[in-house]
């Protein structure tokens, strides 16, 4: 009996062994190897897309990619990219896609996929930096309580037990191996490009706290990248208050404090504002001189007056559709519609935007609210916050793996339930406008619930300090 038990124990279980070996192998891989695998995966997807488009009537390539490539074609003919119908981006995207026209039609996708990789590198650097800064601050605070300030210099900031490298690598892999983002970028969508500049801004702001000597330059550079990010897409504009507040020297507790902060900015806050304005107005002004009012209208103003009545995930879809062409909402009604979103954005900026330690979560939560409350919501918009979510993974360790799967499953379920009436409308011409509206409400409720749960599980420090080494 005992012998048979031993034999059973010694018999290898191939599936389990293979899975565990694969898991161990993935965990042991260096960040560089993960990058190389991701680059290969993306190149493979681009190649597949090229082959698919040559053979199939349903293209792999995103329609926006064609729009931007057409924009590049107009640029090459000394025209305006805005001559292409539905070109509603910064002209920079058209210039970036010039290789599409000149060399190979898939090169633009390679450029966008490269920014996918750059985003992962930034995520890695930022998470590692944040962990180091947070750890150091926690140690300093602890030592100062015991009056042993000098010992802090000897303490190894990157204590191996805090695993900053591992957490940073896991966060970057969360982005690198996300099928949604990989497919979106290899289909030729440029959202990773703008996400890169959003994360770069946060990185520079966090980095500025880590260094004393070049802090001001870093903040000015953060302003420049922020201005450029706003030039590319309008949504980073709503991160401005959080960026501004995180540079304050005291806690803003009331509206009076805020007013004081706005009226009497600190030197660093001024640098941020000046950097933002310089980048935003220089780049936008330059393209305005080239393409005139049409550029301002198509790239920016259009998004304010946009009235997309076609079905989408938004809470406001049914409302927009039913308002039709004739029904106009009054100013009061418009304010009542807009106020909850603005209120939440203000609340989150004040709650999580006042310290650089919590800035990444703040930016993520702001992007999440923007998308959830947007008047038009499609899958592409999810990239806005999916690019920022890996930055906060370390802060959400209180969520167990099982619970994380439940949350992710709920988020997917919300979309799947919406897809059914959308399919029936689009492909069966059933009148499911109200059903889609109801599913939009459900998806909105799911997103709001998830936001609440993420905030409730948020913690900004969880360090193990080596007391023996410290004292």
């Amino acid at each position: 009996m005992s012998m048979s038990n031993t034999a059973a124990k010694n018999t290898p279980q191939p599936t389990k062994t293979l899975l565990s070996r694969c898991g161990t192998l993935l965990l042991e891989l260096s960040f560089r190897t993960h990058l190389l695998i991701s680059i290969a995966l993306r190149l493979l997807l681009i190649t597949y897309g090229h082959w698919h488009d040559a053979h199939s009537e349903v293209p792999y390539t995103d329609i926006d990619y064609k729009v931007v490539t057409d924009g590049a074609r107009h640029v090459l003919q000394n025209g305006s990219p805005f001559n292409r119908h539905t070109y509603r981006y910064s002209p920079i995207l058209a210039y970036m896609q010039l290789p599409n026209v000149l060399l190979h039609p898939a090169l633009g996708k390679v450029i966008f996929a490269a920014f996918d990789i750059f985003v992962a590198i930034l995520i890695y650097l930022l998470v590692r930096l944040q962990l180091q800064v947070q750890c150091r601050k926690a140690v300093h605070a602890l030592l100062s309580k015991f009056g042993k300030i000098r010992s802090a210099q000897q303490y190894n900031e990157t204590d191996a037990r805090n695993r900053p490298e591992n957490i940073a690598r896991a966060s970057a892999c969360f982005w690198l191996y996300n099928p949604l983002t990989a497919i979106i970028s290899t289909r030729g969508n440029g959202d990773s490009f703008s996400s890169f500049f959003v994360i770069l801004t946060v990185y520079l702001l966090v980095k500025s706290e880590d260094t004393e000597r070049s802090a001001n330059w870093l903040i000015f550079a953060a302003g420049l990248t922020h201005g450029f990010a706003i030039h590319l897409r309008l949504y980073p504009l709503l991160f401005s208050l959080a960026y501004y507040l995180c540079l304050s020297t005291s806690l803003t507790r009331s509206a009076r404090d805020l007013l004081r902060q706005l009226l009497f900015p600190s030197c660093r806050q001024m640098l941020l504002v000046v950097g933002t304005c310089i980048a935003l107005f220089t780049v936008t002004g330059f393209f305005y001189t080239l393409y005139g009012w049409q550029y301002i209208h198509e790239a920016y103003l259009y998004h304010f007056v946009r009235r997309d009545v076609r079905h989408n995930f938004s809470l406001y879809f049914l409302l927009q559709y039913l308002s039709g062409n004739a029904t106009e909402t009054s100013l009061l009604e418009k304010l009542l519609i807009l106020a909850p979103q603005l209120g939440l954005l203000l609340y989150l900026s004040f709650s999580f935007g006042q310290f650089r330690q919590t800035l990444t979560f703040c930016v993520f939560a702001l992007a999440f609210v923007m998308v959830t409350f947007n008047s038009v919501v499609t899958s592409q918009y999810f990239v806005w916050y999916l690019a920022l979510l890996p930055l906060c993974l370390n802060n959400l360790q209180a969520i167990s793996l099982a619970r994380a799967f439940i949350y992710f499953g709920t988020w997917l379920l919300g979309q799947a339930l919406w897809l059914l009436p959308a399919y029936l409308l689009e492909f069966k011409t059933w009148n499911t406008f109200y059903w889609i509206g109801a599913q939009g409400v459900l998806f909105f409720l799911i997103n709001s619930y998830l936001l609440m749960r993420l905030i409730e599980h948020y913690s900004f420090t969880s360090f193990k300090v080596n007391f023996k080494k410290l004292f």
């Binding site: 406001y316 409302l319 909850p340 709650s351 919590t358 709001s448």
Partner: protein, 295 residues
């Protein structure tokens, strides 16, 4: 019996050449089918010609008017042209975002070569319609039997979009001594010129039209000798589609419900979570004060 046979024989001899039984012109058959259901469909044309035209280097064009409720995706058409699955003349720009009420009908031309059976598949898309106050129900007689389904009726409005039948034009390069009328029944005595710029057929009668410049006339008359042909249409499916529309009367309740939901959720989010950032911020502020003291 014999006089009748003589009469018939002499009548056949006296008939004009083109109307004799052996070479009597036949009508091409154009089958029309609207595939599947939904907002994205294919309009399938099956064009059948008599074999007398196969060796005459002929081309035909189907002139199709698409109503305001329908659009084509220029990018999709471009892909199909590149894959050589579709040939024709299409507008350079079609607004794919505008609803029906803000759109206009437009014409497209589909090219083909006469053969025993030629199939053309044109992908079309239906536009959304603005909500309406009018009560127009699908299968109303059935639904009215059930009181409970009155609620369904409120939510089940449809607008009908009908695609008109196309016109067929033909042009042959090598007819030798024969005229086109010998092979096909023409619907008009004129021959037409194809204006690719305006995507239309024009008669040469307009030659002296003061509105058109000589240069444009030259371009138009480069591609003439098109004949409008009588066609026998076979409708394999209904060319009408019922497109769902919303009820404008539902707007006020939906407006207030949306506002209430968004307000409740926002306030509840703040109410439920406000203690967490407050605790974190005080902790971080404490850290900052200690750090400042150290400096």
């Amino acid at each position: 019996m014999i006089p009748a046979a003589i009469y018939t024989f002499s009548l056949l001899l006296l008939l004009p050449k083109g109307l004799r039984c052996s070479q009597s012109p036949t009508k091409p058959i154009v089958g029309l089918q609207l595939s599947d259901t939904g907002m994205h469909r294919d309009l399938i044309y099956t064009v059948q010609f008599t074999n007398a035209l196969y060796d005459k280097s002929c081309n035909y064009v189907l002139e199709q008017l698409l109503p305001a409720g329908v659009y084509i995706s220029v990018d999709q058409i471009g892909d199909l042209k590149r894959l050589k699955k579709l040939n024709g003349i299409f507008p350079e720009f079609v607004d794919i975002e505008a609803p029906t009420e803000k759109s206009k009908s437009f014409t497209i031309m589909l090219n083909g070569v006469p053969q025993s059976t030629d199939a053309i598949k044109l992908p079309i898309h239906y536009r959304y319609h603005a909500p309406s106050k009018k009560q127009k129900y699908e299968n109303a007689s059935i639904y009215f039997l059930f009181l409970i389904l009155k609620v369904v009726l409120f939510f089940s409005k449809f607008a009908t979009v009908e695609i008109p039948i196309p016109k067929l034009y033909i042009k042959c390069k090598t007819l030798e001594d024969n005229s086109i009328e010998e092979f096909l029944e023409t619907a008009s005595k004129y021959n037409y010129c194809l204006n690719e710029r305006s995507i239309s057929f024009e008669t040469k009668i307009n030659e002296n039209n003061s509105n058109s410049s000589p240069k444009s006339n030259l371009a138009v008359y480069d591609n003439c000798d098109w004949y409008l042909v009588d066609v026998h249409f076979q409708l394999k499916t209904d060319l009408r589609a019922d497109i769902p529309i919303g009820n404008e009367k539902a707007f006020p309740p939906i407006l207030y419900a949306t506002i209430i939901i968004s307000w409740i959720i926002s306030l509840y989010t703040v109410f439920r979570t406000h203690a967490i950032p407050r605790r974190i911020n005080y902790k971080l502020e404490e850290q900052r004060v200690l750090q400042n003291k150290m400096k």
